[in-house]
Symmetry: C2
Subunit: 362 residues, 2 copies
């Protein structure tokens, strides 16, 4: 198979922004949304970049997203706020709610924002990188459409519910954590299916709730497993983390939670009922200087990173990575060489181009 | 083997408080510390209850804990504080720092306290149950003596670094999450060793960094594995969570982190150097009414709990538990029937009784 073709980041960004504008998103918001999507492509989280653009387009066609939504603070305190995203694009609601958390932190030492009435907000990592720019410790979480079984459950009840947090260093790169709370990404099951290969035990169950290594058995009514996979290896912990993310993102804001989170792709089933408004997110920001001298904090993070790198390596490895290493390295390469897109994604972008008249040049 | 004998909770509490007083801890603090230890015994987290009392006694004998330490706020903002525990008993420093987080939340919507110069603080769950009493969402984290390898590392670098958080329901019991960020508890490896049984693959590595099922190979210079166990099943995620807890607890407060966290038991090796003061904790509190009507929040938590319970069960199970179920059920039984203690723990308590002259009656 030939290498996938590489696309200049700025050209993809421009195309994406114009597509959002075509559907009525104001220019600044369209550019912001395109930037969030692109951060996924740059960081090699390919499932969350332009590969999702067609799903957003579908949602606009169905009128399921308000392109001109205004976000509103519906309740607040000195260090907290609840935001209603007005059923706007998650890629716009997310950054604006995150900005409120960062403003609260500037004033009160920390800021915490729970968001309802939003939808898919891109990669959680984007938001904590924004906080790093302002020398804040940022947190971001979101719930997502059901895909994961609670431990000892036989069906999809929870989303992949990611958690991100980042810590700045001085000379060393920042520690950037961005992780779903399930054992493995659904995209890996799809890749195994296409390759006609089994998946590792511990990733998924079939429609009867039994552990399966058959990707089709997972996709056909099965579910992904929480981080930890089974009781013996701590599957109850990944399950608990998914619940934590869900409650902070959705119960605290008044969004839908668990099996009631709205679907984002057309192929996903519609929940039986609604228990809130849209999808939920949770953002946090901590001012480092509210706790300790930032220079001292960063010096210690440098030392921490070096300590992790000096760990004696396990056999067959080069030793531990620091959280954020793979994404940062991917970003350096992709900014220079371009973003690789696989044919199915290119075909989707061409289809969007045909629908909108916006040229997608290669 | 006969069932372990049962001890009335109030008698153990009294004995524990008197032991702390014997070593110079003021009466109120001694009672508080005993209450924290007892919460572990009541909730069947037996490794963290009176089974640890002998380690505290050893620390007092060595002068490693200041029984009369005063905690001090060394930096603060409207919603945050950094606390120096004065090398006091973690079981006293912890509750006092947690109280500061809760007071900050009352005033500013949320409160976040990072603590240095402390030591073992008991179970993280205790602190979030305290927050529940005040209708707050509580968080608690702590770092601990090194025991866990970073993914792809061959040695102990990180602690078991637990995370706790709790959410109140109205008619349903609260959701109480309290979990270490490693795949399994070290105590289970010791149990397997005594029973001469193998441990599951995924719990631990041997001194060379290879996955082992031999409990002795782990204990003899090996390490526990982070939640997720290996790269395929998300071991990088458990590792990242352990780093997160460590940075919030220790880098943010100026405590020791990673392999430099001081030992708590005499058998543990002394770190090669110190990078801060004592052990670190991190407490958070969120005022629910700063985000949403508390009655609405609790109604939704009830609904959430019922939804989890209605999940179709996996084969061979009764379906998902709700986080906190096992501990709450244990507490109900143990409050009524007493706390079971195994012989080695009884012998340690008898030894403390001999050392201190405080009667340990059975």
């Amino acid at each position: 198979m030939p290498d996938p073709p590489l696309y200049p980041p700025e050209r993809l960004l421009d195309f994406t922004a114009r597509v959002f504008e075509h559907f009525g998103v104001p220019g600044d918001d369209a550019r912001l949304a395109a930037t969030v999507l692109q951060s996924a492509d740059l960081r090699a989280i390919d499932s969350h970049g332009v590969a999702r653009l067609h799903s957003y387009v579908d949602m606009f066609h169905l009128g399921r997203i308000d392109p001109r939504a205004k976000i509103a603070i519906v309740r607040e305190s000195a260090s907290t706020a609840t935001v209603d995203g007005g059923n706007g694009l998650g890629l716009v609601v997310g950054p604006k709610a995150n900005a409120i958390a960062m403003e609260k932190a500037a004033a009160a030492g920390s800021g915490w924002v729970s968001v309802r009435n939003s939808n898919h907000f891109g990669i959680a990592g984007y938001y904590v990188l924004e906080a790093l720019e302002r020398d804040l410790i940022g947190w971001a979480m979101t719930n997502t459409t059901k895909l994961v079984a609670p431990l000892w459950g036989a069906e999809r009840v929870l989303g992949t519910n990611p958690i991100a947090i980042a810590f700045p260093g001085e000379r060393e790169p920042p520690v950037v954590i961005d992780m779903a709370t399930c054992a493995a990404a659904y995209g890996k099951v799809e890749i195994a299916r296409r390759a006609k290969k089994p998946i590792p035990a511990g990733w998924a169950i079939d429609r009867n709730g039994a552990i399966t290594t058959d990707p089709d058995a997972m996709i056909d009514g099965g579910a992904m497993l929480p981080l930890g996979s089974d009781r013996e290896r701590g599957g109850h912990k990944g399950y608990a983390l998914a619940v934590m993310v869900d409650v902070l993102s959705a119960v605290l804001s008044g969004a839908n939670w668990g099996p009631f989170v709205p679907p984002f792709a057309l192929r996903q089933e519609i929940p039986t009922r609604s228990v809130g408004k849209g999808t939920g997110h949770f953002f946090g920001a901590l001012r480092i200087d509210a706790f300790i001298e930032p220079s001292e904090f960063k010096r210690q993070i440098d030392e921490y990173v070096r300590t992790l790198r000096k760990t004696r390596p396990a056999p067959g490895t080069n030793g531990p990575l620091v959280p954020g290493d793979p994404e940062r390295e991917a970003e350096a390469i992709r900014r220079r060489d371009g973003i690789p897109l696989v044919l199915p994604v290119i075909e989707e972008l061409r289809d969007i181009s045909r629908q909108t008249g916006i040229p997608f040049t290669e």
